[in-house]
Each structure stands twice: as structure tokens, then as C-alpha cells.
């Protein structure tokens, strides 16, 4: 292989990055579902022809897809090689959402498009979009009670949705017959395919500019540099073994916590992640597939070292031991709908808590770490149409060495925004009674945690069914270095004058509401960082003035301040 000069490497790296960023933007701007268009629950990237190795990925994509899409591309390449999937031709686009083939949950649908140069496969362009529905037992796919993957929705192996540029109407018909609100999916499908087209035309400009051979050589060089960069970051961590644990409230079926047990070993230039002491596979949908488990660790490390560019090399110095026999290595037919949104965040939390012992000045206490999925499905009698409403919410981030945690920060694995109250009330027969700060929720510390959200929403017309997949209802996000945990997640249903709490606290499905009933949610605050008694008294008093804490709370949590 020819040696590429450092300038050309940097130029090509920036070029590949721009290709991916443009795909990200094209996908979101053309998409229909708010979950993609408004919430950016999607990702685009470039992957190696033979091994699916990550070449570049958009900076505006959802973090949890960082690792999964490379797994998905690798499975696709393997299946083609084995002859069980038809070989690619120019203009084809494969569709796949099988969680066990490098996926997350079924709602995350991947499109993969081969790019040929002179008749040879040069690379894959791939994107993932979160579809608002993929069939299954509950609208939106976030079942809390499923016990096998078939209950969670339509599972697609890799098949060509576009053949030589033409949409296969027969496959489309099968998909549309199996999902809810199907008529709007065609817009998302066109947007998802168009983003790959945008990517291919930009990539061809790069190829024309530098030549295919030079580009391949540069890709190898960039990968080596990223690995070296990550090793340089790892060298700064003191050698040692760091252990941590994190708990998922329950699997939604059996009401007991699932334990994530993590051991991080740092030696020389390698970090080894061992999750093998974690709970066994569970009956409910909180199992995680291998690709998602890996991705959760990758994205957590990327959060800690945000300036390392993302490609296959970035993760070479990270050794993840496959946790066979645990709920973090789910096999068919274990249900998995909670893995991308919730379990992945608990894994990331365990990584933060372990590394906080090693390099405390660069880490933070645990963030809220739940996507706060609340789905409401019903028929609006005023419009005589069915609807599926999603409310997602953030929570407090953990305090860190320099600042208090952010309030209402996005989920660890996401970058998606919430929809405005004014939009929700236009589309759905609901009225928000409040959308406010979850007072008192920030974990006490020298730098306190940020605050969660406290909202209350009323059904105005007809009947509906509510489902929840959230977490941290049993234990709040832990603090570090003497900091206190943030407040846990709370769900309350106010129905016919009676207030109840779901049996599993943060997870339930199919709860019937009639007009006038209300759902109240309080999301977790972030954990505190450092001893609360060390907090600046002026800041404690300010927080009381602002009503973040009552005076009594503040005195109890932080000590005397007046």
C-alpha cells in the first residue's frame, strides 16, 4: 500500500466526514416522521466493502448507531458472501431491521446501498432511521410485556427494497400491510433512500478527485491514525481495574432489577470491558443484542473523549468481552425493544461510573439516562382518525468537575429534540397541564446534578391506551466522589379521581385512559459530583431563590447556607 502524505489524509478525512454530514441533513430535512425530522433519530455512514468496517459516520447522527451500523454492514457482507443474500448490483438498496444481525430494536430500519467503481464494490453507504411503527403488539413498538421478538413487530432480513434503482412494490406492500399509519411511511422511505443517493454523488466527487486507490489507502491511514489517537487518550488513564454496576428497574415482565456488572481493566494502551457478571437473559424486552451492547460502550467512551474522530480504528484499542449467557448478549427469540433506548444507557452509565474512579476530573456523575418513552394510542372522535403520540423527555445530567449538570439534557444515546407542547396539542387530543422543572431532582453535590422534567398531560376526547418504557424509577442516577443520587423517575396515572403508579414503576403498557384522565411524569435528575457540604453557599442560596430546592431541602442536602 502506498503511503499517503499527512495533508492528503486530513483532506480526505474532512471530505468523507462532509459526505456523511450531508446525508444526515438530507435525511432529516426530507423525512416525515417527527422522530426523524425533528428528533434526528437516524444516522448515516460509509462502510468497508468486504468487512463492513466503519469508514466515516455523520457527526449529526444518533450516537447509539455508532457501533451497530458497522455490525449490520458486516453481517450483510457475510450473508452475501455465503450466498444467502443476493449479490449487490448498482442502484440496489437493501433493507434490514433484524436485531440479531447487527441491529438495535425492530423500529431501527437500516438501508444499505453498494457503491461500485469500475465494476468493483468500493464501499457501502448505509443509514438507519427509527420508524414510528413496525407493527407488533403496541403502537410504536415499545412493548413493556413482550416475551418473544415476534410480538415486537415485523422482522426483515436483508432484502433488496430497490432493485437497480426501482422500488420493489411487492416488498413495500408486505411492509405496509404489517405496520400502523402505513400511508406516511412512503415519504420516509423515499427520504431514507434519497439521503444515500446524495451520499453517493458526493462520494463520487471525492473518488474522481483523488482516485479510488488513493482513497482506499487514505481510509486505511485514517483508521490507523484514529486508533493511535484513542491509544494516546487511553495512555493517560492510570493502569488498574475499575468496577461498577448499574441497574435496570425490571424487564417489564418480572418485577425485579436487572444488574449490569462491569469491570474495566486498563493496561498500557488497551481498555478491556467485561460485563460477564451481569444478570442472565430476561423474559421481558430489556435484553440487549451484542451489537447494541458494544455500541453502548463505544458511545460512552466517545462521550469521554469527544475529540477522537469516529471510524473503525477509534475502537480498536477497546476490547469488549462478549458477555455470553447474560441479558446483554440476547439471542433469537429474546425480545429486545428496550435495548436501544434504555439498557444501552445503563451500560454507558456503568462505563462512566467506572472511569470516574480512574480520571475523575474528566468525568461526571450519572445522567438521567432514560429516553422517557411514553406512547399514547387511540382514536380521536373529533377527527375520526387513529393516532400514535410519543412523548420523549430528557432529564438532568450529572455534575462534573467544572459545572453543575445540564437540566433536561438529551438521553445519553440520543441527540433528539422533544416536540413542542404547541405541536403535540395540534396533532393529538391532549392538553398539557404543565411542562416544568422537576424541582428538587438534581442530586446534591459540590457540583449538583441538573434537573429532570415534570409534565402532566390530560386526554381531552375519546379513549386511549398508554404505554411507558422508561427507567431509573427504582434507584436515582448515582452520584460520584461523595455526591448524592438524583431523584428517580416517577409515573402517576390520575384516572377517575384515583391515582395509581405502574407496578414496574417505569414500564407498563396498554393502560386505558378516558377523557379527563391524566398522566403525570417526573424524569430523573442527574447525580451530584463531590461532597454537597463543599458547595459554594452562594450557589445553594441562589438555588433556593430560584425554587430549585425548598429551603428545608437545601439545608438537609447541602447543610446550613443562610
Amino acid at each position: 500500500m502506498t503511503e499517503i502524505d499527512p495533508l492528503t489524509l486530513a483532506v480526505i478525512q474532512a471530505g468523507l466526514q462532509q459526505v456523511c454530514n450531508e446525508m444526515d441533513i438530507a435525511f432529516s430535512r426530507a423525512a416525515f416522521s417527527p422522530v426523524i425530522a425533528e428528533a434526528d433519530d437516524r444516522s448515516d455512514g460509509i462502510y468497508g466493502a468486504e468487512d463492513g468496517a466503519l469508514i466515516a459516520q455523520g457527526e449529526l447522527g444518533l450516537p447509539v448507531f455508532v457501533g451497530t451500523m458497522a455490525h449490520s454492514a458486516a453481517h450483510l457482507a457475510r450473508l452475501i458472501c455465503e450466498g444467502s443474500v443476493a449479490p449487490p448490483e448498482p442502484g440496489d438498496i437493501y433493507i434490514v431491521n433484524d436485531p440479531y444481525l447487527g441491529g438495535t430494536h425492530l423500529m431501527d430500519v437500516r438501508f444499505a446501498r453498494p457503491v461500485f467503481v469500475d465494476g468493483t464494490l468500493f464501499c457501502w453507504l448505509q443509514n438507519t432511521g427509527h420508524w414510528p411503527d413496525i407493527g407488533g403488539m403496541v403502537p410504536g413498538g415499545f412493548s413493556a410485556h413482550a416475551t418473544e421478538v415476534e410480538q415486537e413487530g415485523l422482522r426483515l432480513p436483508p432484502v433488496k427494497l430497490f432493485k437497480r434503482g426501482e422500488l420493489d412494490r411487492e416488498i413495500l406492500a408486505i411492509i405496509q400491510s404489517n405496520i400502523r399509519v402505513a400511508e406516511q411511511r412512503i415519504g420516509d422511505i423515499k427520504a431514507q433512500a434519497a439521503a444515500l443517493l446524495v451520499g453517493e454523488s458526493r462520494l463520487r466527487e471525492l473518488i474522481a478527485r483523488h482516485g479510488a486507490a488513493a482513497l482506499q489507502a487514505a481510509i486505511a491511514g485514517i483508521r490507523a491514525r484514529a486508533a493511535e489517537r484513542m491509544r494516546a487518550e487511553i495512555r493517560r488513564i492510570p493502569d488498574g481495574v475499575y468496577t461498577s454496576e448499574a441497574f435496570v428497574d425490571s424487564d417489564g415482565v418480572v418485577n425485579q432489577p436487572l444488574r449490569i456488572a462491569l469491570t474495566v481493566a486498563k493496561r498500557d494502551e488497551t481498555l478491556t470491558f467485561d460485563l460477564s457478571g451481569s444478570s442472565p437473559p430476561c423474559q421481558g424486552p430489556m435484553n440487549s443484542v451484542w451489537a447494541t451492547t458494544c455500541s453502548a460502550i463505544y458511545l460512552a467512551v466517545k462521550h469521554v473523549f469527544p475529540h477522537v474522530p469516529i471510524n473503525a480504528g477509534t475502537f480498536e484499542p477497546l476490547e469488549v468481552i462478549r458477555p455470553e449467557g447474560t441479558f446483554l448478549d440476547a439471542r433469537y427469540p429474546r425480545p429486545v425493544s428496550g435495548c436501544a433506548a434504555e439498557v444501552s444507557q445503563r451500560i454507558a452509565e456503568a462505563v462512566f461510573l467506572a472511569l470516574a474512579q480512574a480520571i475523575p476530573e474528566e468525568l461526571w456523575a450519572a445522567p438521567a439516562g432514560t429516553s422517557g418513552n411514553f406512547a399514547l394510542g387511540g382514536v380521536d372522535p373529533a377527527r375520526n382518525t387513529g393516532y400514535v403520540m410519543y412523548q420523549i423527555t430528557g432529564g438532568g445530567y450529572g455534575g462534573n468537575a467544572h459545572d453543575d449538570g445540564l437540566t433536561n439534557g438529551c438521553s445519553t444515546i440520543g441527540i433528539s429534540k422533544t416536540a413542542p407542547v404547541e405541536v403535540m396539542e395540534q396533532y393529538f387530543p391532549v392538553l398539557f397541564r404543565r411542562f416544568a422543572i422537576h424541582e428538587g431532582s438534581g442530586g446534591a453535590g459540590q457540583r449538583r446534578g441538573g434537573f429532570g422534567v415534570h409534565y402532566e398531560v390530560e386526554l381531552l376526547r375519546g379513549e386511549a391506551k398508554a404505554s411507558f418504557v422508561m427507567d431509573h424509577g427504582r434507584f436515582g442516577p448515582p452520584g460520584v466522589l461523595g455526591g448524592q443520587p438524583g431523584a428517580p423517575n416517577v409515573v402517576r396515572l390520575h384516572r377517575g379521581g384515583v391515582t395509581t403508579v405502574p407496578e414496574h414503576l417505569s414500564k407498563d403498557q396498554g393502560l386505558r385512559l378516558v377523557a379527563g384522565d391524566r398522566v403525570e411524569v417526573m424524569t430523573p435528575g442527574g447525580g451530584g459530583y463531590g461532597d454537597p457540604l463543599m458547595r459554594d453557599r452562594v450557589m445553594v442560596a441562589r438555588d433556593v431563590t430560584r425554587g430549585y430546592y425548598t429551603a428545608e431541602q437545601a439545608e438537609r442536602l447541602f447543610g446550613p447556607f443562610a
Binding site: L9, A37, G187, P306, L406, I415, E425
Partner: protein, 671 residues
């Protein structure tokens, strides 16, 4: 002829272009006086040899509000809002400052103790669910006054659908508020999305007193000097507004600085017979990029001035990248070359400033390569320490990579250009425009220095450097028209909206805009009314702006215009799905007399060749001719490698490029 002065206050310099009674133009460039920008403005008028008393009109671009927001030197603002929703401004929409890394902070412009709730509620269709508690409004307004608030925001849920409660609460508050600093959310922006609308309103309230005080100071000083007329002030939409009205919508001035440069570019293009350009303004710490298609600058209503501070008002769509002359170059921990995002800023600044900067910057690289003349740096007093600069390039980049000092500096310039192509792609290619159909309009201190190489990098065939690249923002003031933008939200299926309703909304907007614009009788030659719609397919959340050539259009015509615009942007047709008309917009532009750019031309006696100097380009040293821009004759041709110097900018012609001075004095470079 009327005597008109365009005065732009930038971060470092206050620039002035003055059109004298005989049609000639005078220029001035004086240091900006940060403590009170008015002093610099007066100094600029004096420096141009003019008397304020003799000026018929002053058109003013100011960074007073921009700086106030970025430095958080703002008025104390109180908020009165719907019960249950006082935290909307603090919660935002569940974001974080950077995609990776769970750190960073956000403080809303109105702290929680100054956000008060009153009982009232509208639903999404504008029906009253809870009547307004008028007594509570008065009580809370008084409490906020007692708490020392200078400005007040009234922001209620769904006020875009029915503003009755906001209006009534505004009446009550204004009756007791000692100043005019009361902002009603819907008055500034009548669109849904409570966080963006409320934040826009709070930005407005927070800068209103700042802008008002500044303009009063300035006008008092001008009046002392005998100039007692009203000013026109530049807005972020690229138009001007009379000073007596501007503070009401003060948020519109927050991003006005970059907009005036783009307006100058549009005026220059029009007089050059061109219509498509990408503007490229590179300064010391950042670079602004914008797109002009068909002679009209692109407008966006989704810009943010900082993390968590969206200002959803129609403004010239200027994208800023954090790469400027002060961007620091070096190797990362893996030995990969990096340029930025760290910047030496102006303090300590690049090594060449001699203020203690020790790490190589883009400006330093330009010196090493002979692209800049060390003897002619505006910001530098003492001799430039060339050896120290060369040593830094060798130490930080050249030695570890096995490159010569020149090769290292050239690599830095090349990589900086690649990063800037990313910003240019975002405003052009990613919106469906092909850069090959555009010229690169280069201005600002460093724009012309990099433009030819940058154009080559991205495939733009021609670079245009205007006659006075360092005074472009002042020119923008001088040529700017008056402008009023009006927006109404309908947010209904196109099929459900009666055609006469669309015509009626647009007619009402037209009337409101005309009333303001035509009040400036002395200045406005004609009023131009532009209508547009923001549309989407049902179920989408992003909007596409569609020009409406007339107020009275059929639904079929609007549908067809939307589908064409959508296809141009995404290459997708969507016959399966209905169209939704979200917003109707009208811009009323009061056209001023055309300013003939030839007035900016220096004498140009043709004796322009200054000599030669070594220039490193394409991997080798060349002996490049050095030309004095001010003395070039119209029609002069210069082949690269060459350097064209002028008082406020340096243009580098790479080998193989060729420049011609066009009939209005622009350098037109075939790259």
C-alpha cells in the same frame, strides 16, 4: 444630491462610506470604541472630513446588541407566562451543547425567580379554555418591577393562534410599566413552538434597553454636532428601519453585522450583471458564508446566536464557521494535522502580532509563504518576528511530519480551506445548488487572501473581489433598502384554506408593511412587495419556502410551486401526500435610490506595478509581481502568480489564475 453616510461598527474597526453632494465618495476606517460605539461613529465622520450637521442621512450598522447577547451584558428581564409553563425557557427542547461529551451549561436569559405564572389558557385552535386572570397580571408585573426588572415579556401558550390574552395582558402591564420595554411574544413572531417564540421574545426584551440607550447616546452626540435627523438602522434581514422604531423589534438587529456584507454583495452583483454568488467573509476569528441566488440573499428564520438561543426571525442566512486568521494549527495526539477549532483570537493573537502568541496560526502561515507582507499588517505595530514564526512551524508541524517550513505552512492553508469548503457546501450543495453556477464573492480582511485557492478546492470557477473589500459592511449600510417582514401562521391543509383567505392575509400584511416603509418618503423611491409561503407535506415538520408571485393565487398554482421547490431541493416527488400551508409571509421593501458603485473607484492611473516578491505556491517559490490595487486601470489584466495589495486587503492570484478589472472596479478572477 443627498449626502448619505453608511457607518458600520465592527469588532475592530468602525468603517464609513460617505456619499458627498457632488456624488464623490469618501472613506474612513477608525478603531471601534468598545465602551461607547458612538464615539467611534463620530470619529469616523470627522476622519472622512465631514460635518455631521451637513449630512442628510446616516445609515448605521451596529454590533451593540450582538455583543450584549454574547457577553450577557443584558437588561434584567421579567416574564409573565401561562400557569404551568414558566420553565419552558429553561428546559428548552432536550438538547446538549455538543453531540459528544455530557458537559456544558445553559442559563436562560430570564432567571427562574423572574418568571411568573398567571392563570389563562388557549387551546391549539385559539379557543379560550381558561380566562385571563387580569388581577394576577397586574400583581405579577408590579412584583417584577419591584424586583428590578427593566423589560418585560408576556408569552402565552398558543398566542400565535389567538393573541387576545397576550394583548390584554400587554395593556395591563403597559399601563404600569415605566418604559416602553414590554414585548409580547406573538407580536414579534406569530409562529408555533413555544420555546423558540419565547426565547426570541426574551432576546428582544433583553437587548431593547441596550439598543435604545445606545441609539439615544448616539443621536444626542449627533444632535450636539448639529445632526438632528432620524437614523436608519440595519436589521438582520438585510433591510433598514428608522431608529425611532428599531428598538421595538430590537432582536432583529442581533445578527445584522454579517447581513450588511451580504447586502453589499447583492448590490455589487446587480451592477456587475451577475446574479449568483457565495459570499465569503473571513476575519480574525471566524468566517461568514452566505448564498445569493437569482440576486436575492437566502433568508432563514431558524438561526441561533448561541447554544440554546434561537432567534426565529427572518434573517439573511449567514453561516459562521470558527475558522479565521487566528485559528491555531498543530498536530493532535495521533500526529494528525489539525487547524482549529482553537483560536488565538486577537489576544494574544497570531505569533506575528508579537503579543505573546506562540502557536502557529493561519495568518502566520500566510506570512511564511509570502502571501502577506510583514510590513503591511494593520493590527501590528512592531516588526514582525519572522524567525520566531518559522521556528514555530518547524517545531509544531514541519519537524514531526518531515516537512519543510514552507510545506508545513502550505499544508495549514490547504487544510483550512478544506474546512471552509464544508461550510460552503452546507449553504450551496446541501440545498440543491451547484457551486459551479456561482462566483465566490470574497471580502473581509482575509477573504481575498484565500479565495482563489478555496474556489479551486470546491470547484467554483470565478472569484470576485469588490473594489473595497474591507469596507463591504459599510457599503451594505449605504445601499440597504428599508424592509419590513411579516409572518402569519395558518398551519392547515392547502385544500382546506379558501383562496380568498390567503389573498386577504397577504393583503393585510402588505398594508401593514407599506404603512411603515412609505413613512420614509424622502428616502424611498418605490416599494416592492414580495409574498412567500412556508409549506410542507402533511406529517412533516420542516418547512420549504415557496415564492408566491401574486397575492391572488389559486390553490393549484400554490401546490405546483411547492412541488417544484420540493423537487429542486430533494429530488423527491410525493404525489401520495397532501400539502400543508404553514406560514404566509410578506416582505415590503422600500427601494432607495441606486448607489453607483463606480463612485468607489480610485483614480487608477495605471502605474500599479510595485515590484516583485517571493510567493510560495503549488509546492515551489515563485517571484510574484506585486500590484497596487488602487492604481489599476479598468480592464487591466494580471496573470498569477501575483499579489494585489490595497489599503485594507490583499488578494493572492495563484499560478494559472488570471484577474481582470471589470468596468465597475471589481477584480474578476478566473481560477
Amino acid at each position: 444630491m443627498r449626502r448619505v453616510a453608511g457607518i458600520d461598527v465592527g469588532g475592530t474597526f468602525t468603517d464609513l462610506l460617505l456619499q458627498a453632494a457632488d456624488g464623490t465618495v469618501r472613506l474612513a476606517k477608525v478603531p471601534t470604541t468598545a465602551a461607547n460605539q458612538a464615539d467611534g461613529v463620530l470619529a469616523a465622520i470627522v476622519a472622512a472630513g465631514a460635518e455631521p450637521a451637513t449630512l442628510d442621512l446616516i445609515i448605521h450598522g451596529t454590533t451593540a446588541t450582538t455583543n450584549a447577547v454574547l457577553e450577557r451584558k443584558l437588561a434584567r428581564v421579567g416574564l409573565i407566562t401561562t400557569a404551568g409553563f414558566r420553565d419552558v425557557l429553561e428546559l428548552g427542547r432536550r438538547t446538549r451543547p455538543h453531540p459528544y461529551g455530557l458537559t456544558g451549561t445553559f442559563e436562560p436569559l430570564v432567571p427562574r425567580e423572574l418568571r411568573r405564572e398567571v392563570a389563562e389558557r388557549m387551546d391549539a385552535r385559539g379557543q379560550v379554555l381558561v380566562p385571563l386572570d387580569e388581577a394576577a397580571v397586574e400583581q405579577e408585573a408590579r412584583a417584577l418591577l419591584d424586583a428590578g426588572c427593566e423589560a418585560l415579556v408576556v408569552h402565552f401558550l398558543h398566542a400565535y393562534a389567538n393573541p387576545a390574552h397576550e394583548r390584554r395582558a400587554g395593556e395591563i402591564a403597559r399601563a404600569i410599566w415605566p418604559s416602553a420595554y414590554v414585548t409580547l411574544g406573538h407580536e414579534l413572531l406569530s409562529e408555533f413552538r413555544e420555546y423558540e417564540r419565547g426565547t426570541t421574545a426574551s432576546v428582544n426584551a433583553a437587548v431593547q434597553p441596550v439598543l435604545d440607550r445606545y441609539l439615544h447616546r448616539l443621536q444626542a452626540k449627533l444632535a450636539e454636532a448639529g445632526h438632528a435627523r432620524d437614523l436608519l438602522v440595519m436589521n438582520g434581514n438585510g433591510g433598514t428601519v428608522p431608529a425611532r422604531l428599531v428598538a421595538k423589534d430590537a432582536a432583529k438587529t442581533v445578527m445584522s453585522g454579517p447581513a450588511s456584507g451580504v447586502m453589499a454583495a447583492a448590490a455589487t452583483l446587480a451592477q456587475s450583471g451577475l446574479s449568483n454568488a457565495i459570499t465569503y467573509d473571513m476575519g480574525g476569528t471566524s468566517t461568514d458564508v452566505a448564498l445569493i441566488a437569482g440576486g436575492v440573499p437566502e433568508v432563514s428564520a431558524e438561526l441561533s446566536i448561541a447554544y440554546g438561543l434561537p432567534i426565529h426571525l427572518p434573517m439573511v442566512d449567514v453561516r459562521t464557521v470558527g475558522a479565521g486568521g487566528g485559528s491555531i494549527a498543530g498536530l493532535d495526539r495521533a500526529g494528525m494535522l489539525r487547524v482549529g477549532p482553537d483560536s488565538a483570537g486577537s489576544q494574544p493573537g497570531p505569533i506575528c502580532y508579537g503579543r505573546g502568541g506562540a502557536r502557529p496560526t493561519i495568518t502566520d502561515a500566510n506570512l511564511v509563504l509570502g502571501r502577506l507582507d510583514p510590513a503591511r499588517l494593520l493590527a501590528v505595530q512592531d516588526a514582525v518576528p519572522m524567525q520566531r514564526i518559522r521556528d514555530a512551524f518547524a517545531r509544531d508541524i514541519g519537524d514531526p511530519l518531515g516537512l519543510s517550513v514552507e510545506q508545513a505552512a502550505a499544508a495549514v492553508i490547504r487544510l483550512a480551506n478544506v474546512h471552509m469548503t464544508g461550510a460552503i457546501r452546507m449553504v450551496s450543495l446541501s440545498k440543491g445548488h451547484d457551486p459551479r453556477d456561482f462566483v465566490l464573492f470574497a471580502f473581509g480582511g482575509a477573504g481575498p487572501l484565500h479565495a482563489v485557492a478555496l474556489a479551486r478546492e470546491i470547484g467554483i470557477p470565478e472569484v470576485l473581489v469588490p473594489a473595497r473589500p474591507g469596507l463591504t459592511n459599510a457599503l451594505g449600510c449605504l445601499v440597504a433598502d428599508l424592509r419590513q417582514d411579516l409572518v402569519n401562521t395558518l398551519n392547515r391543509g392547502l385544500d382546506d384554506i379558501p383562496e380568498d383567505e390567503i389573498a386577504a392575509v397577504l393583503a393585510a400584511q402588505r398594508e401593514r408593511g407599506l404603512a411603515t416603509v412609505l413613512a420614509e418618503k424622502g428616502e424611498v423611491e418605490e416599494a416592492v412587495v414580495l409574498h412567500s409561503a412556508e409549506m410542507q407535506f402533511r406529517g412533516q415538520t420542516h418547512l420549504i419556502r415557496v415564492a408566491l408571485p401574486r397575492a391572488a393565487m389559486t390553490r393549484a398554482e400554490i401546490q405546483a410551486a411547492f412541488e417544484a421547490a420540493y423537487f429542486a431541493r430533494f429530488q423527491i416527488r410525493m404525489p401520495e401526500i397532501r400539502a400543508v400551508l404553514v406560514n404566509l409571509n410578506t416582505s415590503v421593501i422600500g427601494r432607495r435610490r441606486r448607489f453607483d458603485l463606480r463612485a468607489l473607484l480610485p483614480p487608477g492611473d495605471g502605474d500599479a506595478l510595485l515590484g516583485t516578491r517571493p510567493l510560495y505556491a503549488d509546492g515551489a517559490w515563485h517571484e510574484a509581481q506585486v500590484w497596487q490595487r488602487e492604481r489599476l486601470a479598468l480592464g487591466a489584466r494580471i496573470a498569477g502568480p501575483a499579489i494585489i495589495q490595497q489599503a485594507d486587503a490583499t488578494t493572492v492570484l495563484e499560478p494559472g489564475s488570471e484577474a481582470v478589472v471589470d468596468p465597475i472596479g471589481n477584480l474578476r478572477v478566473r481560477v
